[in-house]
Amino acid sequence: MTAVTAPKVRQARNLRIGREVGIVVAMVLLLAATAIRNPGFLGAQSLRDLLLGSAILVVLAVGQTMVVITRNVDLSVGSILGLVAFATGKLFVAQPGLPIVLAVLAGIGLGVVCGALNGGLVAVAQVPSLVITLGTLYVFRGVDYAWAAGQQINAADMPPGFLRFGSATVLGIPWLAVVAAVVLIAAGLFLRSYRSGRDLYAIGSQPAAATLSGIPVGRRVFAVFAVNGALAGLAGVLYAARFGTVDATAGTGLELQVVAAVVVGGVAIFGGSGSVWGAALGALLLTTIGSSLAVLRINPFWQQAVVGALILAAIGLDRLLAVRMARRLRGRSHA
């Protein structure tokens, strides 16, 4: 085994930062290209819309990153979001005077319950999360449909303060984006500076070694799914605030976008590496692409194909970087 020395760690971090800078560059290029065609694209309203549109995806991507780092995946986030969004609507219909904070907490709470179910099954039964979350994707969605029974919560039923929260700004930045930023910073700090955060990387890189070195793998994995559930719940509340009208199909198909954002953002699907910053950038990039395609008047049917191509490009690039880095590490030790 090669000895991991300080210069090599710095190299690894540089490569990762380079990867994230790459996404920023791609986004800047995209914004520029679109702005040339349509200068209004860089206007205040437009940028506000971009931030608003990506806020929910960023929150989901942060949670998913933590799950993927531990070599798992959570495909049920779309269903959790839909369930919580609908629950939030029902809550407000039943209690119009409810303070927004309480509604947010209730949504997060419901999300935690769902996430804990996922985490429990994965950690205790030691069953691949792909399958479990596939199953809970169906189960949560089915519960959502059954509860909704064809109803729809209309924007007119929601308290205006809540809806304002969904579209209002503070110093020009939408509240939703502020919430997403807070979540992002908190997660970023946690993963970098806290012991339990670093443990997640260890679990994803070498699960056997992690267990042997005393990390309570089961507990960490359970916790990570619960947190992801909580974030999906938060995203559900934000969704209800942003769109106002919620029915049982809310959030269908989001899981693909979240995984795309995470993968494009440089988080390795096999766990062990990546950062929430990259995932957030991935989410921003995907949202920008959606808007750009519309503005550039490119056939909107290309959008999904572009997302697919990006995923392939991203994992290809990551693989290339990983191989290059491994080669370099090996090379140095022989020098």
Binding site: A125, G142, V143, G308, L312, G316
Partner: protein, 316 residues
Amino acid sequence: MRKPWEITIVAALLVFILVASISVDGFATGRNWGFLLLDLAPIALIALPMTLIVIAGEIDLSVASILGLSSAIMGQLWLAGLSLQLIVVLVPLIGALLGAVNGLFVTRFGLPSLAVTIGTLALYRGLAFVVLGDRAVADFPFGWTGGSIRTIPGTPIPWAVLLIAVLAGVFALVLHFTPIGRGLYAIGNNAEAAAYAGISVGRTKFWLYVVSGAVSALAGILWTLRYASARADNGTGLELQVVAAVLLGGVSIFGGRGTLAGVLAGVLLLGTVRNALQLADVSTDTLTVVTGVLLILSVVAPALTRLTPRLRKASP
């Protein structure tokens, strides 16, 4: 002791059919079985190569998108004036090509199949919309569309099912009775050891993806003819149903274990449960939940049986 899970599944299937025949009106009729088998046809078809892929330790989530893209291409070629005879030969070849792309990314570039096939899931579905857009092509000749659902005279079994049965036989033969098939188990158990044993892991996996693509395209043709409608969104979400059936049938997601018989039983079980519950007027929501629960059970149950001996050993 051999293959207890397969026995469980087949037993569950038979028990369920028995119970449903007695308690659900209209379940045990020839016509209903005809519908059921037709509904299951694409899932059963795609489950065949999927079984082999999962046994070899990989996965292919792009199958439904290949189905959709094939349907879109079929529609577009038909509009362009090509003959159906030519189309049904060309489209599986194109499917094979699409599968080859998957295979290339997984074997040549060494990328994880989960991520690759999620990427191609989006890419191919997107391309389907680019090819056919929002239209539906529906003027296929009745001889073909009616023929796709026509039953064998004197029985309620559609001809399409015969085709699938034959293919299933071929796959089962390859998997269980040829060195290639045994090699798949070896690869799934330990790819490195298999390589040392002389199995060319990369080439095998590559061809698995090619076959998966071709079969998915074939399923796309059947789907298009059956519903007499080529649309870009055909088959959306089907990959989850196929994976659910494969896992329910006892194939381990880790690779290295599973049988084709089990998978077919799994496909039938999921299909009959859905069919019977629908006949019994159970709501769509409940059906969705049941599918999810069955899927979770399919992996938790074997995991628990793995755990209990450990627990027994642990306690003094």
